[in-house]
């Protein structure tokens, strides 16, 4: 039985190794064939004429993530502050499960909501098709809310109560104590929350596809469409062959490396805190 437990524990390691092997063994040769520079910095993605530049998609992922952070983090952190320090118990008992529910809603449902509500709104307000960077940022911003709220709230609650009381005793108001003492003290926890949110936003696929427009060009404005790395894979994997298919796997390699970097920075923040 001991051996069985040991082997089970090894499955995680084996899974990561297998994922690396399968992605890298197909992706790296493709990148080499296309040329590292042409692949990563090439601005044209046109598989029909053998042009595989994913720079627009890298930028697209970065833009969408930045947008999601800009939307989700202020609202999320303020909501966490509300839940931790301002919320009457009666409202909390309703609000907390509601936020958890928000975390559980499948991403296609978010995408569908974005498509039916946010996209038409943008279309009517700013013109254009509505599927855009802005739409994707709003939808993703909503999607990362539960992550940001949950982790930030836990961090805020972990700050010793004596900090707050000390601040009050020095004559600060409740609000000032919360914002000048508790929030900075929970800083690294809030930062972890943001990094987790970034991870979720970078990896999100289905909701983005439905609202971002998916044009494989450099994003030009907030109300124009863009394509993310994840979208690139889902949209074309179904019919891609040969080098095109390998290029999509290489796209996943780039995505994978991004996520590893995010994970590393997350554990760095966690280590500093501990």
């Amino acid at each position: 039985m001991h051996l069985l437990f040991f082997l089970s524990a090894g499955v995680s390691i084996a899974a990561v190794l297998l994922i690396c092997i399968f992605l890298f063994s197909r992706g790296i040769p493709a990148i080499r064939e296309i040329g590292v520079q042409e692949f990563l910095l090439g601005k044209v993605w046109k598989p029909s004429s053998d042009l595989y530049g994913i720079f627009p998609m890298i930028i697209g992922s970065l833009y969408v993530t930045a947008g999601a952070i800009a939307v989700g983090v202020p609202v999320g952190v303020l909501t966490a502050v509300f839940l931790a320090f301002f919320c009457p118990g009666r409202i909390y008992r309703f609000l907390k499960p509601a936020v958890d529910l928000l975390a559980g809603i499948p991403s296609v449902v978010y995408g569908f909501f974005g498509l039916m509500v946010i996209v038409p709104f943008i279309r009517n307000t700013f013109g254009g098709s509505g599927t855009s960077w802005l739409a994707a940022s709003l939808v993703l911003g909503i999607m990362i809310l539960p992550t940001v709220i949950g982790v930030s709230e836990a961090a805020l609650r972990a700050v010793p109560k004596s900090y707050y009381e000390g601040s009050l005793a020095l004559g600060a108001t409740h609000e000032r104590s919360v914002f000048r003492t508790m929030l900075p003290a929970a800083g690294s926890g809030v930062l972890s929350a943001i990094i987790l949110g970034v991870g979720r936003a970078v990896g999100e696929t289905m909701a983005v596809i439905m609202v971002a427009g998916n044009q494989a060009v450099m994003p030009s404005s907030l109300t124009k469409g863009l394509r993310t790395l994840t979208a690139n894979i889902v949209l074309e994997m179904g019919y891609a062959t040969d080098l095109h298919r390998e290029a999509l796997i290489a796209t996943a390699v780039v995505l994978f490396v991004f996520v590893l970097l995010i994970n590393l920075s997350f554990s760095a923040v966690k280590r500093r805190k501990g």
């Binding site: 995680s12 509300f82 909501f113 914002f179 696929t205």
Partner: protein, 289 residues
Amino acid sequence: MRNTSISKDQAARRAKRNAASLRAAVYAGAGICIAVLIGILIYILAKGVPNLTPELFSLQYTSENASVVPALLNTLVVVALSLAIAVPLGIFSAIYLVEYAKKGNRFVKVVRVTAETLAGIPSIVYGLFGYLLFVTTLGFGYSLLAGALTLSIMILPVILRTTEEALQSVPDLYREGSFGLGAGKLRTVFRIVLPSAAPGILAGVILAVGRLVGETAALIFTAGTVAQTPDSLLGSGRTLAVHLYALWNEGLATEKAYATAVILLVLVAGINTLSSVIASKWTKGNKNG
């Protein structure tokens, strides 16, 4: 004297103003959050519930009638199969990490790091990996089996972590008591530790179910998008979430899509409630014990 008292007055007023604006910001943030949440729920329910018609639940999927029943059945099969693979693996791994491994064991560290990595990998990367390994290399083709295997790797870290936490929260007193009565290691783990950790583990499993039900990206290229219930596990079939995506992709049947979204929402809400009920029962039980 006069001067200082005035400035004190001003300072007090400024402090009050500051406090008011900070409070306003907090209420605005929370207000936006609540409004969005309620907005989404009401919108989906309002648009979807009227479309929950009887023919939506007819047994056969046809192009005129995008019935959700095959998708529901496929979802059940995929969830059951993924759990059957991932739950034992996750629990056994956690048992090893918590009960068997020595402190500071290098292997344990590697397992933790890899589990964290697995938890962070985007689902589309899982999808691609599942496609490369299960669909093509192992030759399962687009099938429920390939989908379930892919998803089981995806939820493994969820189960592993929640089980680990649950096991760690079992007091050492229990273990010592069991050893003191002459039970062996294995007996202690299965008779004493696991039962006391069961509610925590169960909450984790239910969390994983929620993720499975909502998963799309990892399934499109592993389980495929066929709208029927396949004859065997090696056949392709779409789950409910994939069904919703496919309905959008085909651009028809918007009302059906709304209805599907409602069903998904209700499923997830039910799963969440179940999980939190179990978790809260557990903490209450702990307090009493």
